[in-house]
């Protein structure tokens, strides 16, 4: 491409600007600087010579046009020398194109932003409550007759979101058992309280760690999947198609997922219990010299069965929170692709948060009840 040049000649109160070559949007900023540097105070006449240009694009035409307007504003006479038809046409096009000013994005102040955000959060909370209300009213209708229960979908979802997660849940809890035992073994050794590792592990794993870790893994694995599946169905209008065919998405998609997870969660927690205790047992054997026989014997005497049931009872509650938040977020997906990612992230974060809150409430309740 031929480069464009600008030659500026001064004489008394006159300036001549001679453009040559191909004037395009790549050259404008350079020329703008040169033009801005001109001292126009005592100038009465400016000549723009475009005859040596071989090409002028629309951006450059806007530049020339703006410069002419600027000179007119300064009350300086302008002559435009231009014989080539294409270049004249390009200048005319720009000059005659009427365009409205682009709207300015309204600047918001901090109070307005906080107010709007809070209001949006409030509306979000209300819509979640409305979702729960609809869920319960559908569920009551749903459970009126055994015929309405969609066993096939529930079985399918149990397989998808729980049975297939058994491996990862077991592995995570195994490692957690390992780590907790390893950390506490070091401390216990100092006091010679080796055998108490059984009490510690038994209580913390059965009551808290196993249910919580299972919930976190399932929220990340299955809760997000619910959001993404239902969100994608919403974007492709599959949910609308279901509604027009008289298939209530709550019956077909929402409730089977929630029931499936509520049924499967206690089983997952049981698996997590077992593998975490095995992890702890290995460390107890290697690090503290407690044989598995001794470990299990001690476990049997000091750990009451109620601790196991406390952990298992939390399962359906956690499952309900994870599944309903996952599904709700899926239904909140708007008609654009960004929205799926946004809502999937939200669903995992909110589900884990809700699970921890719920766990705290359980913790207080069980302690006060003396369980």
């Amino acid at each position: 491409m031929e480069r464009s040049l600008l030659k500026i000649t001064h004489s008394n109160d006159e300036i001549t600007l001679i453009f040559s070559g191909e004037l395009s949007l790549y050259e404008i900023s350079k020329f703008q600087k040169q033009v801005d540097a001109l001292d126009l105070d005592k100038i009465k006449n400016v000549t723009l010579d475009l005859n040596q240009l071989s090409f002028l694009d629309t951006a450059a035409s806007i530049f020339i046009n703006n410069f002419q307007k600027f000179l007119a504003f300064k009350k300086i006479d302008t002559q435009l020398i231009c014989d080539k038809e294409e270049i004249q046409a390009s200048l005319e096009l720009v000059k005659n194109q009427k365009s409205d000013a682009l709207p300015h994005a309204k600047q918001k102040n901090i109070i307005e932003i906080i107010g709007k955000e809070t209001h949006a959060k409030y509306l979000g909370f209300l819509s979640f409550i409305a979702f729960l209300g609809l869920l319960f009213s559908t569920k009551i209708f749903y459970l009126k007759s055994v015929k309405n229960i969609r066993f096939r979908e529930i079985a399918f979802e149990i397989n998808e979101s729980a049975i297939k997660a058994l491996g990862i849940v077991a592995l995570t809890s195994f490692l957690i058992g390992l780590v907790v035992a390893y950390q506490s073994a070091y401390q216990l050794k100092i006091y010679g309280a080796n055998i108490f590792i059984v009490d510690m592990l038994g209580l913390s794993i059965l009551r808290e760690l196993a249910p919580l870790m299972t919930a976190v893994v399932i929220a990340g694995r299955s809760g997000s999947a619910f959001t993404a599946q239902i969100g994608a169905m919403k974007i492709t209008e599959e949910l609308d198609a279901m509604r027009t065919m008289g298939f209530d998405p709550y019956m077909f998609l929402v409730i089977p997922r929630i029931i499936a997870l509520m049924v499967a969660m206690p089983i997952l927690i049981f698996v997590a219990d077992v593998s975490a205790v095995i992890g702890g047992m290995i460390i107890a054997n290697l690090d503290l010299g407690i044989t598995p026989e001794l470990f299990l014997d001690r476990f049997n005497t000091v750990i009451d069965v109620k601790h196991f049931f406390v952990g298992i009872t939390k399962g359906p509650f956690f499952a309900f929170l994870i599944a309903s938040i996952g599904v709700y977020r899926g239904l909140m997906v708007q008609n654009d692709t960004q929205s799926i990612g946004f809502n999937t992230t939200k669903s995992v974060v909110e589900a884990i948060f809700a699970v921890i809150i719920c766990d705290a409430i359980f913790s207080i309740a069980f302690t006060n009840l003396g369980i």
Binding site: A232, M233, T236, E237, E238, D240, A241, M242, R243, T244, M245, G246, F247
Partner: protein, 242 residues
């Protein structure tokens, strides 16, 4: 001729933006009726209101004698079995193949045997011009035109009296689009359907529609046959039907 859809004074607002301002129209039995208008005028919105996917702010819509303002759950479910809806992109269920998509309403709503259902599915697939060998393909494996045909077959699976089509020919090449028009005309004469179409395709508008309503600037600017459309006073009509 009896009226099967009657829209009276319907007003729709999106937050504070008005989409429909007291729209009224009526659709007769056996008619192919078009909802036309410039982009963003609310044709699809009106269609969605008719099929109970969206609420309107005031006015009333009556479909097959049911007033949608006061309709009860059971009545609504029954009504939903009496119409078929074809969405713009087909909206086939992506987890099911074509045959399962078509069979789904039959499985849910009837106690037909599996053999009978597969007979019906085979008939519907061939009726819309698909091949029987396509039946086991999933929606992700077929072209846009096939998706529309498969979705039409699903919409027809319960033998509805009323069919709603949202831009049936958009995204199809001209030859497939004309085929689709002929298919719609043939189905009307074969099955005695009443059809409501939202469309932009001028050729298919002239070929298929009996009567039209044109929505422009929140109002109905014309309702009637295409013959005296030039008499209407609207910028959209003057430029679109010139």
């Amino acid at each position: 001729m009896s009226i099967i859809i009657k829209v009276t004074d319907v007003t729709t607002m999106f937050e504070d933006k008005m989409v429909h301002d007291r729209i009224s129209l009526s659709i007769n039995k056996g008619e192919i009726y078009g909802l036309l208008g410039p982009s963003g005028c609310g044709k699809t919105t009106l269609l969605r209101e008719m099929v109970m996917l969206q609420k309107y702010n005031s006015g009333c819509i009556e479909i097959l004698g049911n007033n949608l303002n006061y309709i009860q759950y059971e009545k609504a479910q029954k009504l939903r079995r009496e119409w078929g809806v074809l969405f713009q992109a087909g909206a086939l269920f992506s987890s099911l193949n074509i045959a399962q998509n078509i069979a789904l309403p039959l499985k849910e709503y009837t106690d037909l045997s599996d053999k009978m259902i597969s007979e019906i599915v085979k008939f519907k697939i061939n009726l819309v011009g698909l091949k029987s060998r396509d039946a086991l393909l999933y929606p992700s494996q077929i072209s846009g035109g096939m998706k529309k045909k498969a979705a039409l077959a699903r919409a027809l699976s319960m033998d509805p009296k009323l069919l709603f089509l949202d831009e049936p020919t958009s995204g199809l090449d001209p030859i497939s689009a004309r085929d689709f028009d002929n298919l719609i005309l043939r189905l009307r004469s074969l099955l005695g359907l009443s059809i409501v179409i939202v469309s932009h395709d001028l050729k298919s508008i002239y070929d298929t529609l009996d009567r039209v309503a044109i929505i422009d600037n929140k109002k109905i600017v014309y309702e009637g046959t295409l013959d005296n459309i030039a008499s209407a006073n609207s910028h959209f009509i003057k430029t679109f039907f010139k």
